[in-house]
Symmetry: C2
Subunit: 287 residues, 2 copies
């Protein structure tokens, strides 16, 4: 496995791979790698001949007051994990490499960014879209792999790639969870033991809500109230940011839960804001 610190090195390595007829897979990360990230590298390894991972803690997707300065970083361990998972190249740019001088250009997606995390983090997705556009232009992969845990991000990036005709296939990958159900997140390690124990209630509440939808197709408001009550009871350290039941394509709130819906939530614990979601597939009303 090689590492590259400059854009020119990445382009050279990728064009060399291309000249050998290899397909290129790409996994963009902000470091602090966990089993969820590694599952993306493994998916890229299975689907493509040459696998590029980027590790770049992108400052432009953090607003002032957010957790940029305390975001967990672990470069040495990350490189070992990438190597073990079969990455061929890890791109580790510094901020000056990604944002030299006076950058003035922003890539924005409307509508899809107005809901869910976009409401409490209004500038976040502009930062995400712009850096992902840059990384896709630098790496020029055939396929790029994104986890469904950041479901809104995945939806926005997929829309952006289609709208801008970026020649890449976005590959969605499943959420990877701890054995007790907590969705893997770099931020989990910032939870106290107490909050960590409580955080399992996010997945538990989602699972219960999914079962309730499948059984009763209750109105969305009822399901949301039940999730809220569950989390308030079982995660007293958590402050609920949002709980929404949405159409998984438009991300618009739904009133009824008859068709396939996505339940998404964000809860702020001391030290870490956690998100999770669950897709409830369309199914016939249970017997």
């Amino acid at each position: 496995m090689k590492t590259a610190r400059t854009i020119a090195e990445v382009r050279h390595a990728v064009s060399t791979a291309r000249a050998q007829g290899l397909s290129v897979g790409f996994v963009p990360t902000m470091g602090g790698l966990h089993a969820g990230h590694i599952s993306l590298v493994e998916a890229a390894r299975r689907a493509c001949d040459f696998v590029v991972v980027s590790i770049f803690l992108n400052p432009t997707q953090f607003a002032p007051g957010e957790d940029l300065s305390t975001y967990p970083q672990s470069l040495e361990a990350d490189l070992a994990s990438c190597d073990a998972a079969g990455a061929d190249l890890v791109f580790i740019p510094d901020v000056e490499t990604m944002y030299p001088g006076n950058a003035l250009t922003t890539v924005s997606v409307s509508q899809l960014t107005d809901t869910l995390c976009g409401q409490s983090r209004p500038t976040h997705f502009d930062g995400v879209c712009t850096v992902v556009t840059k990384l896709l232009n630098i790496v020029a992969p055939d396929k790029a792999f994104f986890g469904r845990k950041d479901f809104q991000q995945l939806t926005i990036i997929t829309r952006m790639v289609a709208d801008l005709d970026i020649p890449v296939q976005i590959v969605p990958c499943p959420i990877v969870r701890e054995s007790d159900g907590l969705a893997m997140s770099t931020r989990n390690q910032r939870l106290s033991a107490e909050s960590r124990a409580q955080a399992v209630s996010l997945h538990a509440a989602l699972t219960e809500a999914r079962d309730q939808i499948r059984q009763s197709h209750s109105p969305a408001t009822e399901i949301i109230d039940a999730i809220e009550a569950y989390i308030r009871l079982n995660a007293p350290d958590g402050e609920i940011d949002y709980i929404q039941i949405i159409d998984p394509e438009t991300l618009c709130d739904v009133e009824t839960t008859d068709n396939g819906v996505l339940i998404a939530l964000a809860v702020k614990f001391p030290g870490a804001r956690l998100i999770d979601n669950m897709l409830v597939d369309s199914e016939p009303r249970s017997q």
Copy 2:
């Protein structure tokens, strides 16, 4: 010369050329081709092995009330001109091909878009940046050719390409003028004979201003006043939109004309808003 109506056809033709080791040059246009456009095709022909021209009247860079519906189109003549100038492929997408369904993504450049044409056309450059990003992603050229007549557009596109790491070289090309000095523009043909005769005063005023700067390095306000007086006198049909003397890199207004500056102006005639500009290179004060 081939023509392509779909993105897939363009990508196939370009990747076939690339597989043969050919370099790719690109000239984006909105049709209504004149000698200025053709000079870009010829520049691409000299610099690259495979030359792609796009003809797409992009609706998103026109605001409501602007001249989208009356913008001159001349496809048959355009194709003949491209062929004669040595184009290999002309991409002629329709609006549905470029904007299928619900496009939500915008590429924006700040600061550089706040001045000059950006003031009277506040949404114009978002439309330009977004469509140029799309076209560059579709054609994936090594070099793309833009005229200096749209100096602000050239500056913005150059900045955007650098900021987003789009792997293309933007090649600026000289303004092409009619024999009396009027800058070539698709919109010139919409001028009445009288306005056409008056329109020559834009270039005449710029030339006189350039000479005045070279001789006296007068303050920008004095030069601007002189240009305004000249145009008011010689082009009574014209309504001045702006006359600015700016730093050609930042596009910020300058007060003094000691260093290299750009004089830029826009004048609305009945039927056509015209722009023109002139670079005044840094020179020692004239003897």
